[in-house]
Assembly symmetry: C2
Homo-oligomer: 79 residues x 2
């Protein structure tokens, strides 16, 4: 079983990486880019068969290690 | 228009961030995690109406700036 976790900075939290990406794209002539945000993508391989139980364990992992719930939000996709 | 870009290290490329995540999860007792890989998630806001043209421009941005095609693969999702 695989879990894909998307971790984003919450709206309103300063995102210097995203700002740097947007600035660089502008400099390169991609004027259509109005904003950029950068997040993390974590893919876990999991043993076990029960997808619901696995998802709630992954949610726990996000709370404890993978995301900082103060400034980041996350979504989990099981596959 | 929004473009979501997922950037992954290609299979076989050493992923120390992913290995650190897997190691930390094991230490915390999440024994079901057999592997972890970490990538980047970039979200761009784009002006303009033509989704196909925008996607090919975003592909160009990935080749030139957002991904390193030697060691990274990427996928683009328009929304």
């Amino acid at each position: 079983m695989k879990a894909k976790i998307h971790v984003y900075l919450k709206p309103g939290v300063l995102d210097p990486q995203g700002a740097a990406v947007a600035g660089a794209l502008h400099t390169m002539g991609y004027e259509e880019v109005t904003a950029a945000r950068q997040g993390k993508l974590i893919e876990l391989d999991l043993s076990g068969e029960d997808a619901d139980a696995a998802k709630s364990r992954v949610d726990e992992m996000c709370q404890k290690l993978l995301a900082n719930p103060v400034i980041e939000s996350y979504s989990i996709e099981m596959a």
